[in-house]
């Protein structure tokens, strides 16, 4: 009882401190120097209607490369940690079979989900989506396929191929930027186009397509590995 009262008192104290901070806070009326540069020159330099994408892919392109690498490492570590011996593996685990309805309906829904995912990452420079969100949606399509048939085996080779090809392509585009234009991941190697068109913003849609495919493959890899690990004998 005393413990609970103490916790509540502590929380109230913390709340009071934060309330003070919140009250004393005054937002910046003007943008800082960096933000100002982005706001003024972003659209002109990059040609993307979505400024966040412009910053994520071009100005801070190396960060994105790092994030994708981290995701790749996570997927690799999960497959490594869940690796099991062949003899511990139950090929056709007796699970409750799916309803026929889900099996049939998933064949209609999965293509729609994939289409939405592709739309999200191709339009990354125009809409709030982007490679990561589109990749997550595609991975959820793969998850629905697994859900419809628990013993469904998508081959790891296909996933690995998609992933490595898109990873290499990402880096290659970056290097092309050094050769043809100003520097690594410079997006002016393709024409900038008109602001707001699908084929605008130079190389950003291409990069985001590869990022989306890579993220989708990595997340699907995680899901497939975890789902496969359910078949392990205990």
């Amino acid at each position: 009882m005393i413990k609970k009262i103490l916790i509540i008192a502590l929380l109230a104290g913390v709340g009071l401190i934060f309330f003070d901070l919140f009250n004393a806070y005054q937002g910046n009326e003007t943008l800082s120097k960096t933000a100002n540069y982005y706001a003024e020159n972003g659209a002109k330099d990059v040609g993307a209607a979505n400024l966040v994408t412009a910053i994520v892919v071009t100005y801070r392109g190396l960060d994105t490369l790092g994030e994708v690498t981290i995701l790749f490492l996570a997927a690799a570590i999960i497959s490594f940690a869940l690796k099991f011996r062949k003899e511990d593996f139950i090929p056709n685990r007796p699970v409750r079979i799916t309803s026929e309805l889900l099996d049939s309906a998933s064949q209609v829904i999965v293509p729609i989900i994939f289409m939405v995912g592709i739309y999200i990452f191709i339009n990354g420079h125009l809409t709030p989506g982007g490679g990561f969100q589109g990749g997550a949606v595609i991975a959820s399509g793969v998850l629905l396929m697994i859900m419809a048939n628990p013993n469904f085996g998508i081959s790891h080779k296909v996933i690995a191929t998609v992933e490595s090809i898109s990873g290499i392509a990402f880096v290659l585009i970056g290097v092309l930027g050094i050769v043809l234009a100003g520097g690594f991941l410079d997006n002016t190697i393709l024409p900038l186009g008109k602001l707001g068109d699908l084929f605008s913003a130079g190389v950003i849609p291409v990069i985001y397509t590869f990022v989306g495919l890579k993220v989708g493959a990595e997340l699907s890899n995680i899901l497939v590995t975890i789902s496969h690990a359910q078949n392990e004998k205990n």
């Binding site: 799916t98 939405v116 125009l126 989506g129 859900m147 628990p150 359910q230």
Partner: protein
Amino acid sequence: MVNIMLTIAVSITLLSIVVSMVRFIKGPSSADRIVAFDVISVSSVALIAFIAALTNRIIYMDVALVYGILGFLGVIVVARYLERGL
């Protein structure tokens, strides 16, 4: 005029989310809670559409799409977990 009507619609949708929240808190079994989760996520799709209309930005509709897809998948995964089919 339209803004007032949309505001009324948003308030009713919010009320529906709150009422479903009551079922989520009470719900005797896990299945009850997932029904509430389903209704909340579908109502939230409508709520996001209303917010998009009030701010007059079409790009917010993409969020509603992603929301709809993942809400559906969440319900299915939990149901499969409950019936031991995962």
